[in-house]
């Protein structure tokens, strides 16, 4: 089933896509998910990351079945 990856707001617009999917590798981190999908694009500063809808650090490890999200600072309210 792999990892479901989501992008939101300005980051989605910049990347030109809202979702990706990839297979997890052993000990894969959030940072590694980004690097695998966007090898030529450094993660923009201030990007927030979530795993399974909870905020997560770039070091958090992920596995198949997880949902990983990358998005800019939130501006609700």
């Amino acid at each position: 089933m792999g990892i479901q990856v989501k992008y939101f707001a300005s980051l989605r617009d910049r990347l030109g896509r809202a979702e990706d999917r990839l297979a997890a590798t052993e000990g894969m981190t959030v940072a590694a998910v980004w690097a695998a999908l966007w090898p030529k694009t450094p993660l923009p500063p201030n990007t927030l990351t979530a795993v399974n809808m909870e905020y997560a650090s770039l070091e958090q490890s992920v596995r198949d079945g997880d949902e990983v999200a990358f998005f800019p600072p939130v501006t609700g309210g």
Binding site: F8, M53, P72, P73, V74, G76, G77
Partner: protein, 145 residues
């Protein structure tokens, strides 16, 4: 405790009145209601704004609003809380967010209402894109509380 996301424009004071009446067990018990309403302005960063799109992360947004309200009820003695937040297309003067907190005394109501707003602004995954005279632009950060 009630959390709602709305796709259509809503009237915060009407919603609030209805909700309060519907919560029968509140009657006679609350002495303090602290309320905040965030409304779309027709200018931002010195520029006229014609419209706004509020994007969110379905699932994560609701979950975080729920967590924020639960944290508030752990920190203060509250009788009830209501949070309604718009998503989708907004126009100037449209309400964006309603936070209402009922408590026996005012200190808890004021503190919890403020807390919920600050947490919502810093943690709930919503993003504003403004339709300004010079084109559309993503709002990059919120005004500090």
């Amino acid at each position: 405790m009630t959390i709602e996301l709305r796709r259509a424009s809503f009237e915060p004071l009407v919603e609030l009145g209805r909700y309060q009446v519907s919560q029968g067990e509140l009657q006679g018990r609350y002495g303090a209601t602290a309320i905040f309403v965030g409304t779309m302005r027709d200018f931002n960063d010195g520029e006229p704004v014609r419209g706004m799109t509020l994007e969110h992360y379905p699932g994560m947004t609701e979950r975080h609003l729920q967590q924020i309200v639960e944290t508030a009820t752990q920190k203060w003695s509250l009788l009830d809380a209501l949070v309604i937040h718009r998503v989708g297309e907004l126009r100037p003067n449209d309400p964006i967010v309603l936070v209402a907190v009922w408590s026996t005394h005012r200190a808890a109501a004021f503190a919890a209402c403020r807390f919920i707003m600050e947490e919502l602004k810093s943690k709930a995954p919503f993003w504003k894109r403004e339709d300004a005279a010079t084109g559309t632009r993503w709002v990059e950060h919120n005004t500090p509380g």
